[in-house]
Symmetry: C2
Subunit: 256 residues, 2 copies
């Protein structure tokens, strides 16, 4: 049987540790090609490059695994891979990550990691974004391999429902082993921003966005609960953003 073709991208950039680990794991499971940003793109959400040019350079950073560094966003990388590089055969799977830091809950909207996965789904491929809930530069990835491979093999074997990409978050390494994998919904939470006002050397004000994550969700079926209880969370995400339940509400209430 032909090995599956696996496209790997991320948002931390092609030289990050997380993507190297993901490439190594995927190399055991299929034929891998990497198209990833040439610089960090965290927080880029589903940005694409319009009104500006894109560069794409071949890279030997992964040895025998073909790789390209792209000047654009994660979504650009997937678009370039699918419409320019992989014109002969579309990937059997798109994976993104492993992100250095959590992409649970509302962070899915801001996440470049997940935008690469969702772009894969828009383009008709099964797609998964992986994140490790540890922002540290020295984060320990040694516990992620088994869950990542298990989830990838399930998706390669069974596919995913149409229009769905998976948002997978993995708890940071603790002494006790991971408890397992939980299919979840996105927790109801938000970032509570604070803006740190400073002065530049010329005396002009500028800001750093800071803030903390606030979880309003009391449920036990969401990704925040899963991570807090040492489970790997898997949230099926869709790019149909319609609030279908609200259509009848507006039709009933509005005088239009």
């Amino acid at each position: 049987m032909a090995k599956p073709l696996i496209l790997v991208s991320n948002d931390d950039g092609i030289s990050s540790r997380g993507i190297r680990i993901l490439v190594e794991l995927m190399d055991d499971l299929g034929d891998v090609i990497v198209v990833a940003p040439d610089s960090p793109q965290s927080g880029m959400g589903h940005a694409i490059t319009v009104g500006n040019t894109l560069r794409l350079d071949k890279s030997d950073i992964f040895g025998n695994v073909p790789a390209y560094a792209c000047s654009g966003t994660p979504a650009d990388c997937v678009k370039l891979a699918k419409h320019h590089i992989l014109t002969e055969k579309q990937p059997d799977l798109v994976v993104s990550g492993i992100n250095h830091g959590s992409n649970t809950s509302i962070s899915v909207l801001y996440s470049g990691t997940m935008s690469a996965a969702i772009e894969g789904a828009i383009e008709g491929s099964p797609a998964i974004g992986f994140s490790l809930c540890d922002y540290s530069a020295e984060a320990d990835f040694s516990h992620v391999g088994t869950s990542v491979k298990k989830i990838v093999l399930e998706v390669l074997d069974r596919g995913l429902p149409n229009g769905v990409a998976l948002n997978v978050n993995i708890p940071r390494k603790k002494e006790e082993p991971l408890k397992g994998i939980k299919i979840c919904r996105q927790a109801r939470a938000k970032w509570q921003e604070e803006f740190d006002l400073r002065k530049d050397p010329a005396g002009r004000p500028y800001f750093w966005m800071a803030g903390s994550f606030v979880n309003f969700d009391k449920g036990e079926d969401n990704d925040e609960w899963a991570i807090a209880h040492n489970y790997v969370s898997v949230v099926p995400c869709q790019y149909d953003m319609t609030a279908h339940h609200a259509i009848s509400i507006l039709n009933d209430e509005w005088d239009i």
Copy 2:
């Protein structure tokens, strides 16, 4: 009765024609404050500025209407407005636009206009993104006022369901008048990218992303149908991206 406080943002930048028209329309309905990007931010999706600084400068571009130009993304603008500028009183409504160009269907994901509105909803305000389906720099906005005001008044009067922001698209000006307003779902469609490969003066390759919009949707209840038939489309959008229907599918099928 106190006039409602209306926060206006956009993604085309504070000096664009579309935001000026929106500010003028909102000025008839409430107390307006503008926080908008200092330069065009089209295609920025739900990007936020992390790992970099933000500038915020007061602007007199709208005369008596208080306004700030921000170096960040549309989502940054709404965050700064809500957490730094409007600390005394939160806005009764967040509006974004009027975008120069369509944000129907899948474009909601890439749209900076809609990210400002969705950020408003995340922060608990009723929120609406407005777009005119005309990319021309000389686009005629003369037909938009009645629909924009009607929708804003409905939302000010009745609010919106929790976690919902509206994606409003207005057909380009035609000879016949607009047929009305339709509550819709997001059409099933995508952008079919093509990458135009060129050489720079030094002989190095670069790309322009181009492509065309492909509508797969045969329904008559979606935003593409509405725009094609000269209706204003209103899609209620949610930031819960969970594909809830897929949770039971994965729980049934997966061996985890």
